[in-house]
Amino acid sequence: MTLAILGPELAWYLALAGCLFAIGSLGVLLRRSPLIILLSLEIMLNGANLALIAFARAHGQGRGQIFAIAVMAVAASEVAVGLGLIVAMNRRKLPLDVDRLRFLRG
């Protein structure tokens, strides 16, 4: 059974991926809570994943999907480390506000 593509073409998917990526980066750029920044990063990665999967479909290859799955794992890893950091910071009574993390500056 072969499947032709139904519905929106690749360009639509890519535009959506771009939107996600942009929204995610807006979150990183504008939010101060590290938690929300981590969430925004997830959105960015998902945008990339969407693009990968769309391309995989477009090229009819599995590689893109493999890539996307690997990315998921990576995203999970990043989240794990990030959350660990946030917990550690909370324990040290550090503010959970990236704007107040300014001990390190020139």
């Binding site: 072969t2 639509w12 996600l20 942009a22 769309a54 479909r57 989240v79 660990g84 946030i86």
Partner: protein
């Protein structure tokens, strides 16, 4: 007709996706943001299904929405809901710059896609029925992308160790030497 349904599904998923993404970014409470992200992930999974990526969609729901987000929610709960006024703080140029940069990126991607669409993007390949099935993915993972599979596991392992190291509750003061001085910020 099938096509039309696909379009409808696509659009609802896409709107849900963007809406939830915007919600993630704008909610002041991280807890709600996390919940919105779950929605986002779910709607993405729907989109994945539309382009025959069943396994990925499943993984998305299971791994992401299931495991990762649960972790998030646990931490948020542990920290207590610290609310943050979404757009406050930071200089104005930061906001303007951020919006500008994000918009430029978006426009750029869309332009790139648009330029490309005139050329090759439209002639998508037809794929076999097993495309995107767990079996195919598994086969790929064990043949061509064996290494990717292994490394993914290493990354996860490393992250786990890291998470443990960082999240691990410290038992006492530094036990290396006695003269460890106090930091003066």
């Amino acid at each position: 007709m099938g096509n039309f349904i696909v379009w409808v599904v696509w659009f609802s998923a896409a709107f849900a996706c963007i809406g939830s993404a915007v919600a993630v970014v704008t909610f002041s409470n991280p807890f709600y943001s996390a919940l919105a992200l779950i929605g986002n992930l779910a709607s993405l999974a729907v989109l994945y299904l539309l382009i025959s990526a069943e396994f990925v969609a499943a993984a998305q729901v299971l791994v992401y929405a299931g495991a990762v987000m649960v972790m998030f929610l646990f931490v948020i709960a542990y920290l207590g809901g610290e609310e943050e006024t979404p757009w406050a703080g930071g200089p104005t140029w930061q906001t303007i710059g951020a919006v500008g940069a994000a918009a430029a990126l978006l426009v750029e991607v869309i332009v790139a896609v648009g330029l490309k669409a005139g050329g090759r993007l439209s002639d998508e390949a037809s794929v076999g029925g097993s495309f995107g099935s767990p079996a195919q993915i598994g086969r790929l993972f064990l043949t061509d992308h064996l290494l990717a599979f292994e490394i993914t596991s290493i990354v996860l392992l490393v992250a786990a160790v890291g998470g443990v190291v960082l999240g691990h509750h410290e038992k006492g003061p530094h036990d290396w030497g006695s003269a460890a001085p106090k930091e003066t910020p």
